[in-house]
């Protein structure tokens, strides 16, 4: 699990990185069912078009783009910046890469990561005599 927390630089500290290199880390819930892992990521403001999920060997990347603020508006009080969301996870071999499915609704990305056949729990029937 790679978590790079470079969201905000302290005032008076280093110069912030250029805008396109900075991002926010979405909060996630990951739960496991019998045949898959389910990942829920909070990405408010991200539409279906703005979301990008990719798997490169063992690395699962989630990126979500948000629309920039209205041009003529001046910030008065800011608790978040409209930066892209990004988070990277390492996948184990137990996840079937070709079966990963995702959808986004109300700013929450939901990924279903199916387990490979070998990783599923098999019940062994016990015979009684």
């Amino acid at each position: 699990m790679t978590d790079t927390r470079n969201i905000m630089k302290r005032p008076g500290g280093e110069t912030p990185a250029p805008r396109e290199e900075r991002y926010r880390i979405p909060q996630v819930d990951i739960c496991e069912t019998e045949d898959s892992l389910i990942l829920l990521a909070d990405m408010p403001g991200v539409t279906e078009k703005g979301v990008d999920v990719s798997v490169d060997e063992d690395v699962l990347s989630i990126t979500g783009h948000v629309s920039p603020p209205q041009e003529d508006s001046r910030p008065l009080y800011t608790e978040y910046e409209p930066l892209p969301f990004r988070r990277v996870f390492t996948l184990s071999q137990e996840i079937r890469r070709d079966g990963i499915e995702g959808k986004i609704a109300n700013g929450v990305l939901r990924l279903t990561l199916p387990k490979a056949e070998e990783a599923r729990v098999r019940k062994v029937p016990i015979k009684t005599q």
Binding site: I7, D29, T33, P69
Partner: protein, 152 residues
């Protein structure tokens, strides 16, 4: 002073820390409360807010991922805009175990003191992709406050 109760999960929520820093910054700079009181008790969460203005309106945005328009209540009383709602935990059937639980659930309430008078009958709230946007048109007197001074 704005009070943000200390919580264990704070480390995993950089925005809360950021908010505290912003509050402190505003307090230091203006020497008074900036007017936004975070409010959080047990089982509550604190959605991130963004207040901005254009020449014609005040815009209040709140990040409420996983909520629907029907889960949110917006009210305006005496220049204070209040956002209220609840996010119910999405129970996954057949869940065996949780590996990570970082997202927030529960009741929230946030109140914002508006920076200027608004036309209360023309306030519009929209909910899109987990972001609530409340647009409050400024009243005529608030708009005419800006006086252009000719220098010459």
């Amino acid at each position: 002073m704005s009070l943000v109760p200390w919580k264990k999960r704070e480390e995993s929520r950089p925005l809360v820390g950021l908010q505290r820093e912003m509050n402190r910054l505003f307090d230091d700079f203006f020497g008074r409360d900036f007017g936004i009181e975070p409010f959080r008790g047990p089982g509550q969460w604190l959605p991130a807010l963004d207040v901005s203005e254009t020449d014609k309106a005040v815009l209040v945005k709140a990040e409420l991922p996983g909520l629907d328009a029907k889960d949110v209540e917006v009210s305006l009383v005496g220049g204070v805009l209040t956002l209220r709602g609840e996010k119910k935990e999405e129970k996954e059937e057949k869940t065996k175990s949780f590996h990570r639980v970082e997202r927030s659930y529960g009741v929230f309430e946030r109140a914002v003191q508006l920076p200027c008078p608004v036309k209360t009958d023309q306030v519009e709230a929209t909910f899109k992709n987990g972001v609530l946007t409340v647009e409050l048109p400024k009243s005529e007197e608030a708009r005419s406050k800006t006086v252009k001074v000719k220098v010459g």
